[in-house]
């Protein structure tokens, strides 16, 4: 999903060729770039954009899954889902902290999300319509996120790479948990199996879109690849995801909703049908079915929580003043 973080990224930079060359040398030597190191402005901006978008995705991503916490069909599932959604919030916190090392505050990033200036992954603009969606999201959406994020563990920017190591461990747990939910449904009653198939039908294509546009249409990939912010192209990662996921669906006895899906012996991977890029761009540009609702929900929580944050600040100030007065 975080390939989408580079859409519209401005990697332009105005440093001298010598500076850029020296920086590139460090990148090529697999040196980790740390917050206080000199870095090209384009590098910094690209990372702020990508990490910020990644953080926002975690936060907005709490909403579609949170939609089922109160209806989870067993106490075990309820606890597991609650813990999972909490993990996503934790990832958000982690990532905001990583972005803050680049000189942008969490508050600024939040304002950008709420004003619509900053984006988040297109996948969270689809609704969760049944319990099966919770399984499918864990399996496909977290699965796709892992494909994107495993290479990010080797991202050239140290704080982001380190955050990704922990995030990936948790995501891979979520993915197994999601798959296990879907497996239980696939082996359950006919209604449960139908619920699982319906969820797969709805989430399959949006999950493939998480990897971002085709390489040919991905304008900013080259610079990001050179800076080792990105290690694989969108199409490479998408292919890896499809190749890993199709056999998993077959094992469950579910059908991937793509009539053109076929094993290609020569390339050692699956060929797939055309992705609806019209839908992709529509959703990326903010016209997804849940786009307005998601931002409204975030804005409501933020606005209604304003008095709490103000009170916490006021209390801390009073406390500090009393301490000074007592000394």
């Amino acid at each position: 999903m975080y390939s989408q973080g580079l859409i519209g990224a401005d990697g332009r930079t105005t440093e001298t060729p010598e500076f850029l060359q020296a920086f590139q040398k460090r990148i090529d030597a697999e040196d980790k770039i740390e917050p206080k190191d000199a870095m090209p402005e384009g590098y910094r901006k690209t990372l702020v954009r990508q990490i910020g978008q990644h953080a926002h995705s975690e936060i907005v991503g709490m909403l579609p899954e949170g939609n089922w916490i109160t209806r989870a069909p067993s106490l075990r599932r309820k606890a597991a889902l609650l813990a999972k959604v909490q993990d996503e919030g934790g990832h958000g916190l982690y990532l905001y902290a990583a972005a803050e090392t680049l000189g942008v505050s969490r508050e600024e990033m939040t304002e950008e999300l709420l004003s619509g200036k900053a984006k988040y992954s297109s996948i969270f603009n689809y609704p969760t319509l049944s319990w099966a969606d919770i399984g499918i999201i864990g399996w496909l959406v977290d699965g796709a996120a892992i494909m994107n994020q495993i290479p990010l563990c080797r991202c050239s920017f140290g704080p982001y790479a380190r955050a990704m190591i922990r995030v990936c461990k948790e995501e891979s747990f979520h993915q197994r948990q999601g798959y296990e939910i879907v497996m239980t449904l696939a082996q359950g009653t006919p209604e449960q199996k139908e619920m699982a198939q319906d969820a797969l039908n709805r989430w399959w294509w949006p999950s493939l879109m998480m990897f971002g546009p085709h390489d040919a249409d991905s304008q900013h990939s080259d610079q990001s690849m050179a800076w080792k912010i990105k290690r694989f192209t969108n199409d490479e990662l998408r292919q890896k995801f499809i190749d890993a996921t199709v056999p998993q669906a077959e094992y469950l006895g579910l059908t991937v909703p793509d009539a053109d899906l076929a094993w290609n012996e020569a390339k050692g991977g699956y060929d797939h049908g055309p992705i609806d890029w019209g839908e992709f761009w529509r959703v990326v540009k903010g016209h997804g079915p849940m786009a307005r609702d998601r931002i409204k929900a975030r804005k409501k929580a933020w606005d209604e929580g304003a008095w709490v944050r103000e009170a916490a600040l006021a209390h801390a100030e009073k406390r500090a003043a009393r301490k000074i007065a007592a000394e």
Partner: protein
């Protein structure tokens, strides 16, 4: 069966309050609270699960934790009214948590020596969790009570609204006295001792309550619980006999 009933009452308290806290997930005033509220919800739901499982075994009629949680209606639920109160604003939620945890902390401490091993085991874990809930909710009650004019007014309003539900904490349940669980009435001293310094620092008045609200232990609830259960039980009940 008295022990079964008494354990079920406790389990209902924890599930219903845990469910209420979980409603905040993704909607809290700040990201830190989006992590803390589910954390507390998970503690309570975890305790509820162990208690339901224990109750089911005590009953011995083939029901399991989910049958107890998902197949009883509001008249059969035995939770305290305090636990089902709607979240309201953040001040209400924190005060409700403080009231409950300040009771459960001494209660579980007393239950550490229960002859029932499961109850003693739950108590061992819950004592630590309740200490954290008291600290977390108590700090917020202080911040909000002694924060801005608005937060102080909201905090006092929460006290006025929720205090009438606290008397029920100390009533022995419909199950009556059981040897394996502590007596509830004796917790009043410890409860008040926990609250007093917090209220003092939060500049809050503890009101006199001429007419306490009770009834939860006999299945006489407010109107909100039916909605909570309808939502919680909807998927489970729509697919009788299915495994999840």
């Amino acid at each position: 069966m008295a022990l079964f009933e008494a354990v079920l009452e406790l389990a209902d308290d924890h599930l219903v309050l845990g469910h209420r806290l979980s409603e905040w997930c993704g909607h809290a005033p700040m990201l830190e609270e989006d992590l803390a509220l589910p954390n507390m919800a998970l503690d309570l739901i975890g305790t509820a699960r162990t208690l339901y499982d224990h109750a089911a075994k005590l009953e011995g009629r083939g029901r399991d934790e989910d049958a107890l949680a998902y197949l009883r209606g509001e008249r059969e639920y035995r939770n305290l009214l305090l636990c089902e109160r709607p979240n309201g604003d953040f001040a209400h939620t924190m005060l409700r948590q403080l009231y409950f945890a300040a009771f459960m902390q001494p209660y579980w401490t007393a239950a550490l020596g229960s002859a029932d091993e499961t109850i003693a085991g739950v108590a061992g874990k819950a004592v630590k969790e309740m200490a954290y809930h008291i600290r977390h909710a108590g700090e917020w009650v202080i911040r909000l009570g002694d924060g801005t004019e608005e937060s102080a007014a909201r905090m006092q309003e929460a006290v006025v609204e929720l205090h009438p539900y606290t008397g029920e904490l100390f009533e022995e349940g419909a199950a009556g006295d059981v040897a394996e669980l502590p007596s509830r009435a004796v917790m009043r001293g410890a409860w008040t001792a926990t609250l007093q310094p917090i209220f003092a620092e939060a500049l809050l008045q503890m009101p006199e309550v001429p007419y306490p609200q009770t009834g939860g232990r006999s299945g006489l609830h407010g109107e909100g619980l039916g909605h909570l259960l309808a939502e919680m039980q909807s998927v489970y009940r729509a697919h009788p006999g299915a495994s999840w």
